[in-house]
Structure formats: structure tokens, C-alpha cells
């Protein structure tokens, strides 16, 4: 079944390449909103290649076909008290619960999206051990592997994380997974934005079991994960009030269901060095990732945001809504863009895989 799907996928890509027909790669469609508008094309469904290929909890390694629902992966891991450490977002349209979301694991990797645990545990790319892809020539290729240490060949498997399907259709991924922490607690601190950023960074420089942080509306929330004794010791050092609504808060933050994210106003994601001071004055903000991400709602001057983000050492993404014609992703320096174009041409010479979904190629 999986073999047939792969064979047909390769044929379909080869055929599209031969006729110069663009393909729009799609899993569950939960990230359709993400990325540049693209130049359309026939939809190439990835959900036909689904299922867990191998999962060895004692190896901390999971191999899964790209079309597998994220919810299914999370259930399998939870049964062994393990997790995807980068805490990926489903972005399933509400009301359906995350457990029933259509989000696929391949979509998560292609979009390179990580959740609240990212600054403390690592990003999706950090946990990718290997990928199987079908490149733009319709060839099925495997990079990396199912082992934790592997430096044979260029790290093409990690390159697929966040490439938005523009270099290949991901068909299978191997992840390093981690044990789920036995306990979590959320602390809340009433603080201004500047103080909250300063505090989050100070704590991150200490051996504390941090696993998430967010600031909005004058409150800094911090999540602790680990052994009960470790959490108790950290609480004693950090102070603050326990927020009983913690678990629901972090899920709502990850899924962008907090009130801050409601409505149709454009959502900008400013990725900055975590220690950058409060910026973008005059915009409603939510600060995540220990200061590393500042979300901004409402109409904004793309050029001004980008200039300010770049000056601070970061970059700006028009994450949701707004006018995509201003460019969704931060413009690349010419030296970088040159390499991007050549990589695209190498993996997808006919330019048929998700054309225009990232930049103009």
C-alpha cells in the first residue's frame, strides 16, 4: 500500500516535471494559510502515505510516513510516555479538538514549525534524524537515517525542515523523541514587557527546568517541566504564583487560540535575539520563546517592521492574513538568495514543487 503510494507519487512528479506543471503539496491542509501565495498548481495529496514505520521507545527513535496525522503520532508517543520535544502546533481550525485535527507530521516538518518548548528543547530541525523525499525529478531519495549520530553526506534531511516542500515531497521522517517530563507547573509573574524579557533570559542562563515562557497583558508565564523535586526547588528559587490554567494556556498559545490571535487582523511574527529589548512600539504584542518571538497584530508597515527586526538581528514573517504581496518571508541577502536558487534548481530543476510558496522560485 505504502509502496504503491510512493511509486505513484514518483510517477506523478515525473509526469508533472515532464510537462512543466506545478504541484501544490498538501497534507491535512491545516497550514494552507502559511507561506507565500504560491503559483497554484494541481494539489498533490500526501495523506495516502500514512502510518508509523518503526517506533522503538528505548532507542528514542520514531520513523513515520509523512502523511500520518500528527494526532496519531502524539498518541503513539504518549502511550510510551514520550513526546516530540519541539511541541508542534496542529493549527486545526476550531472547533475540532487537536486530537481530531487533520495536521500531518510531514506538514509540520515542511513548515518547520515548533511550539512553546522550542527555546528550551530545540526546533523541529533539531529532532529530524532522517528524511525520505521525492525530489522534483520524481526520484525517491533517503538522507540521514534512524540513528542519533550520523555525519555521512551533507545534512540534507535537516534542510527539508522548513523548506515548504520546495525541494522535495517529504514521504518519511525519522525523529529523535524524548521522555515526557513527569510533571509540569506554570508560574505567573506580573511584569512589564522589558522586565519579563530580562527575567526570562536571566532564568535561561541558570540550570532551571524551564520548558516555555510567554508574556502578554503584563503577565509573564513560565512553564517548568521535570521531576517533582526539581520543579519544587525551581519554584522556591523563582517565586511567582502558580497558574492552575497553565496546561490549557500553553495549548491555546501553541494553537494560536488565545484572544490575542482572534480575528482576521494580520499576524506578524518577529523572530529576534531573545535579549532584544521591547521593540515595535505602538503595536499589540505577545512575547514568546523567552523573548525570541514577538507576535504583532493589526495593520503594520511591512518595510518598517522588517527594518526594525533586521536592525535588532532578527527577521519578520507575515504569519497569517494581511497582504501577501509585500512578501511573506524576510527578504534574503543576495549571497543567500543565489544559493537558494541554485539549491532549488538542483532538487527541482523543472520548478514544479510548490513554486512561489517561499520566495519567487
Amino acid at each position: 500500500m505504502a509502496e504503491t503510494f510512493l511509486t505513484e507519487l514518483c510517477e506523478r512528479v515525473r509526469d508533472a516535471a515532464a510537462h512543466g506543471k506545478a504541484l501544490r503539496i498538501r497534507g491535512g491542509g491545516t497550514k494552507d494559510f502559511y507561506g507565500a501565495a504560491g503559483r497554484g498548481g494541481e494539489i498533490l495529496e500526501t495523506t495516502g502515505g500514512s502510518g508509523i514505520v518503526a517506533y522503538e521507545p528505548k532507542e528514542l527513535v520514531l520513523t513515520v510516513r509523512a502523511g500520518t496525522p500528527l494526532a496519531e503520532v502524539e498518541r503513539a508517543l504518549a502511550a510510551e510516555r514520550q513526546m516530540l520535544p519541539f511541541e508542534p502546533p496542529h493549527f486545526a481550525p476550531s472547533p475540532p479538538a487537536a486530537a481530531a485535527s487533520a495536521a500531518t507530521i510531514g506538514g509540520i516538518v515542511a513548515c518547520g514549525l515548533s511550539g512553546p518548548r522550542r527555546p528550551y528543547a530545540g526546533a523541529v530541525r533539531d529532532f529530524v534524524l532522517g528524511t525520505r523525499i521525492v525530489n522534483g525529478k520524481g526520484e525517491a531519495l533517503a538522507f540521514g537515517g534512524r540513528v542519533i549520530k550520523n555525519v555521512a553526506g551533507y545534512d540534507v534531511s535537516r534542510l527539508m525542515a522548513g523548506a515548504l516542500g520546495t525541494l522535495g515531497v517529504i514521504t518519511e521522517i525519522s525523529f529523535k523523541v524524548l521522555p515526557r517530563p513527569p510533571e509540569e507547573a506554570t508560574l505567573a509573574f506580573p511584569l512589564g514587557q522589558g522586565e519579563a524579557i530580562e527575567r526570562a533570559n536571566r532564568w535561561a542562563g541558570q540550570p532551571l527546568p524551564l520548558s516555555a515562557s510567554a508574556w502578554e497583558d503584563g503577565v509573564l508565564r513560565v512553564r517548568l517541566s521535570g521531576a517533582p523535586a526539581a520543579i519544587a526547588a525551581a519554584r522556591a528559587k523563582m517565586g511567582g504564583e502558580e497558574d492552575p490554567g497553565g496546561p490549557a494556556y500553553w495549548t491555546a498559545l501553541r494553537e494560536q487560540r488565545l484572544a490575542f490571535f482572534a480575528g482576521e487582523a494580520p499576524l506578524w511574527r518577529l523572530a529576534l535575539p531573545q535579549t532584544a529589548p521591547p521593540l515595535f512600539a505602538g503595536h499589540a504584542q505577545l512575547v514568546e520563546w523567552g523573548g525570541g518571538v514577538r507576535w504583532i497584530r493589526g495593520p503594520a508597515d511591512a518595510f518598517a517592521l522588517r527594518t526594525e527586526a533586521e536592525r535588532a538581528g532578527g527577521h519578520a514573517t507575515l504569519f497569517r492574513g494581511g497582504d501577501k504581496s509585500v512578501g511573506v518571508f524576510h527578504p534574503l541577502a543576495p549571497a543567500l538568495m543565489k544559493i537558494h536558487r541554485r539549491l532549488k534548481a538542483a532538487f527541482d530543476p523543472a520548478g514544479i514543487l510548490n513554486p512561489g510558496r517561499m520566495y519567487d522560485f
Binding site: 549520530k149 555525519v151 553526506g153 525541494l167 521535570g226 526539581a230 531573545q274 527577521h315 549571497a335 543567500l336
Partner: protein, 492 residues
């Protein structure tokens, strides 16, 4: 290019071009001066570079790369020369770009937990410089007191603490590099991600093939509050391997999980008299760290698992001095082994951890077939094995047999679902095994990646990725017998 006919003229032209570099550049052009650069730490392979240059700035690197590209002269970049797969072995028709003079720590930002360093900075110096701020740089290859950060990035180096802290690629924020066309490439970002493709992932581990690294932003981590170290003796490798699985299955991710087999145990015993129980077939060294409560709890958990899994003896370090003593068996293994036979060749395969006992049986079987002794020290937590093959460099044919045995072991790793290199890189050593691990279309994709960065193939050509022709026509590598270069560098 007809290299043979034009060599002296090309050398003169190259020398003249490099003398034009401003500010003036340290150039090594005499045979005596070039001698130390003939090899890295890869066994028994040497080549004298046409010229060696030691830049002190990014601007000089750019001019060197530009000059070499214009003249069609290959550039091989070298850090401290501790690589053991031959990635920095020079070419007789190329310039060796030695980065050791670019060795400044440009700044440590303690609040942001990061440091900008030049590529020639030694690995251990970063952690030493960060320690007063309560921070450290996690990747710790065995050669960390000598090896350079630039070399670590080029090789995506690991170390003994990868299971918990990751490889070099997990501990970088940004890399600045000079591309083959002289452009400055800035990959990664001081933010937690960067727009576009993850070019830093490609550069890390590219073995000097994609760009010349001139500056690295490394991520620093808070020093753990407490560290607990345990050493357990087992009556069989299988039992020890089971214990590793049980520890991880119990939800504990140790900072280090190292194993040594009987050959190594006996060597350590003879050399250091550690007093291990007679008949121990495997030693397992486990280290857990974190905040005090966590480290203590995990250590207690590890101890009870070790005992339940049949350890004949478990030692737990009560303080830092005892911890040092327990690590002595692991860190001193290199010296102890060198006492058995001075010449040995270290292999670097990775396998799914559950295959450990079987792969070791296979290693012993193959060793018997070749009539060579093999000792095993390895990162058991990662499934990264380092069989050490002993041979006598003075015995004709011994080295060739050792290398062939090494190749067979790596092929067995691939068969077991693993890889031919966990952390040492391909270099020139494992080109042949690359053809075993990858399909022609995958090898082609690697060449395409190389061409995207370096269309004229100026940077370290011929390393890391075999040509397809070579894969088809392989007849075995010709290697000259000789001494192990840099015998002082720990290799695993």
C-alpha cells in the same frame, strides 16, 4: 587543466597572487615549513601542499579564495588538524588554508548565552571562557583541548555528551563563511531561526566543501548544578546493552552513557589498576546532570536499573575527585590501548542501539577472520561504536588489512540500519563506504548541493562525497604504510 605541465608555473603564479593579499599574509612555501601540514590525524596518508597560508582575518580569507578561484587552484581548509578521516589532507596542486591564527574569542554575551568565535579557537577554550558566567559549550569531542571550533563545525563533531546535549549542529546560532565566489555568506541568525533554507545545517558537517567558515556564533548552556557519575561492571556486553535500553526506557536521558569491552577493560586494568571484578566483559559509565534534585533522583534510578540488569558491581562517585577517577577508565582507555600495541585504527560507525550486542559479535568475528585484535570503546547511548583495530605498522600488509577490516565493520553497520560515520566524518577514509550507504541518485544530490555552493569545485574537492565513477569502479584505496600522525590526540 594540465596540472603536471603547468605545476611550477602555476605555483609561482599562485605564490605571486597570494603575496598581493593585503594586509600581507603568512605564507609557507618551503618544503621544511610545509612538512607539518602534510596530513591531519588520519592514519598514514600524506601529501605536501603546493603552498600553505595562515590568514588572520576574514578579509584575507576572501582574497585567498578569490585568488585561488581565478587560478583554478583548489583550497583545502584546515583547523587544528585533529580530524581522523583525512578531511584536511592537502593536495599537491592546492593551497592549504590553515585557520589556526584566526583564534580570537570575539565576544561572549552571557545574558544571551552565546559567543562569537573565530574558527581557529580551540573547543575547550570556549567553555573555559564561558565558565565564569556559569555557562559552557556542550559539544566535547575527545580532542577538545586541541581541536578547533571551525573544524568542529566542518565535521559536525560530537563527543561524549551528545545523547542529552546534541551534536555541533544543535549548538550553533549562526555561521559566517566565505563562499567559493568570494561572497560573504551569513547562515543562521542570532534569533532562534532564520528565513529561507537551513543552510547552516548544510554547512555544518560539510567537511570544508561548501564554504570557508570565518566566524561562528555558538550557543552556550547553563552549567548543570549537579553531576552524578556511576560505573558498573557487567558479565556480558548484552547485559550492559540491555541496561542502556532500560535506563532510557525509564525516561532518564543521561548526559553520557559510555561502554568499554573486555579488551579495553583489561588494558585499563593493566595500565591503571582500577580493581574491577575479574571476568567483567563490559563496563558502563553513566553520567546524569541537571539541577541537584534531578541529578540525585536520576542517579538513584540509574543505579537500581544497573543492579536489576545484572551489574556485578556499581560504583557511584561521591565527589568530583571520585568522578574524575571513574572517568579515568574511559578517558585513559586511549593511552591504555596504545600500551598494548602502538598502532591502532579507530572506526566510527553508528547503529540502532538495540543492535549493539549483535554488531559487537560481528566485529569480533570479523577481527578473528582478519587475525587482528579489536577493542571497543563507544558511546553506547547514541549507538556510536568506535572499534579500535590493532596492527603493527612495521609488518607489511598489516595496515591494509586493518583498513579493510574497518571497511567491513562499517558495511556491517549499514546492514544493521546504521551509518558509516557517527562523528568523525567521511573525508577520504570512508569514500568507498559512502557508495554502500547511498544510492547513485543520492550521491548525485550531494554533488548538486556542492555545486550550488561551489560550482567550480574549488573547496576541498574529492573529499566527503565519492564520484559516481569511483563508486562503480572502486578497486580499493591505496594507502602508504607509516606512522600514526599526531599519536598524542585522543581519537574517541
Amino acid at each position: 587543466m594540465n596540472a603536471l605541465a603547468t605545476e611550477p608555473a602555476l605555483r609561482a603564479r599562485t605564490l605571486a597572487a597570494l603575496r598581493e593579499v593585503r594586509p600581507p599574509l603568512a605564507i609557507v612555501a618551503d618544503d621544511e615549513g610545509l612538512k607539518p601540514f602534510e596530513t591531519d590525524a588520519f592514519i598514514a596518508h600524506r601529501e605536501t601542499p603546493m603552498l600553505a597560508v595562515l590568514p588572520e582575518s576574514e578579509a584575507q580569507v576572501r582574497e585567498i579564495v578569490n585568488a585561488c578561484r581565478r587560478l583554478g587552484v583548489p583550497v583545502v581548509t584546515r583547523g587544528s588538524g585533529t580530524g581522523i578521516s583525512g578531511g584536511a589532507i592537502p593536495r599537491s596542486d592546492g593551497v592549504l588554508l590553515v585557520m589556526t591564527k584566526m583564534n580570537r574569542i570575539l565576544g561572549i554575551d552571557a545574558a544571551a548565552r552565546m559567543a562569537w568565535v573565530e574558527p581557529g579557537v580551540r573547543n575547550l577554550r570556549v567553555s573555559e571562557a564561558a565558565a565564569p558566567s556559569g555557562l559552557f559549550y556542550a559539544p566535547d569531542p575527545s580532542s577538545q583541548s586541541v581541536c578547533s571550533i571551525g573544524g568542529n563545525v566542518a565535521e559536525n563533531s560530537g563527543g561524549v555528551h551528545c545523547l542529552k546535549y546534541g551534536l555541533t549542529t544543535h549548538n550553533l546560532l549562526a555561521v559566517r563563511a566565505i563562499e567559493a565566489d568570494g561572497d560573504l555568506l551569513e547562515a543562521g541568525s542570532l534569533a532562534l531561526d532564520a528565513p529561507g533554507y537551513d543552510l547552516m545545517a548544510l554547512i555544518c558537517g560539510s567537511e570544508g566543501n561548501l564554504a570557508v567558515i570565518t566566524r561562528v556564533a555558538v550557543r552556550l548552556l547553563p552549567l548543570p548544578e549537579a553531576t552524578q557519575t556511576l560505573l558498573a561492571a557487567f558479565p556480558s556486553v548484552r547485559r550492559a546493552a540491555e541496561a542502556v535500553g532500560e535506563i532510557i526506557g525509564a525516561g532518564i536521558v543521561p548526559a553520557a552513557l559510555e561502554m568499554m569491552d573486555r579488551v579495553v577493560i583489561e588494558a585499563c586494568e593493566r595500565f591503571m589498576a582500577m580493581g574491577f571484578p575479574a571476568g567483567a566483559e563490559a563496563l558502563l559509565l553513566a553520567e546524569v546532570d541537571g539541577c541537584t534534585e534531578e541529578a540525585l533522583g536520576d542517579a538513584a534510578g540509574v543505579r537500581s536499573i544497573l543492579e536489576r540488569c545484572g551489574a556485578t558491581e556499581v560504583r557511584m562517585a561521591a565527589d568530583a575527585a571520585e568522578r574524575e577517577r571513574l572517568w579515568k577508565s574511559r578517558k585513559g582507555a586511549f593511552t591504555a590501548l596504545a600500551n598494548i600495541l602502538p598502532d591502532f585504527y579507530t572506526i566510527d560507525g553508528t547503529i540502532p542501539r538495540r543492535c549493539l550486542p549483535d554488531i559487537l559479535d560481528r566485529v569480533y568475528e570479523l577481527a578473528a577472520e582478519y587475525g587482528l585484535m579489536v577493542g571497543n570503546v563507544f558511546h553506547a547511548g547514541d549507538g556510536n561504536i568506535h572499534p579500535c583495530i590493532f596492527y603493527d605498522a612495521n609488518k607489511p600488509g598489516d595496515l591494509e588489512r586493518a583498513e579493510e577490516l574497518g571497511g567491513r565493520i562499517l558495511e556491517a553497520c549499514v546492514e544493521a540500519g546504521g551509518t558509516i560515520t557517527g562523528e568523525h566524518g567521511v573525508g577520504i577514509e570512508k569514500l568507498r563506504q559512502m557508495c554502500v550507504q547511498f544510492l547513485p541518485a543520492e550521491i548525485e544530490a550531494f554533488h548538486a548541493v556542492k555545486a550550488a555552493f561551489d560550482p567550480d569545485s574549488i573547496l576541498n574537492p574529492g573529499k566527503a562525497v565519492p564520484t559516481l565513477r569511483r563508486c562503480t569502479e572502486w578497486r580499493g584505496m591505496r594507502v602508504r604504510a607509516g606512522e600514526i600522525p599526531r599519536p598524542d590526540i585522543p581519537r574517541f
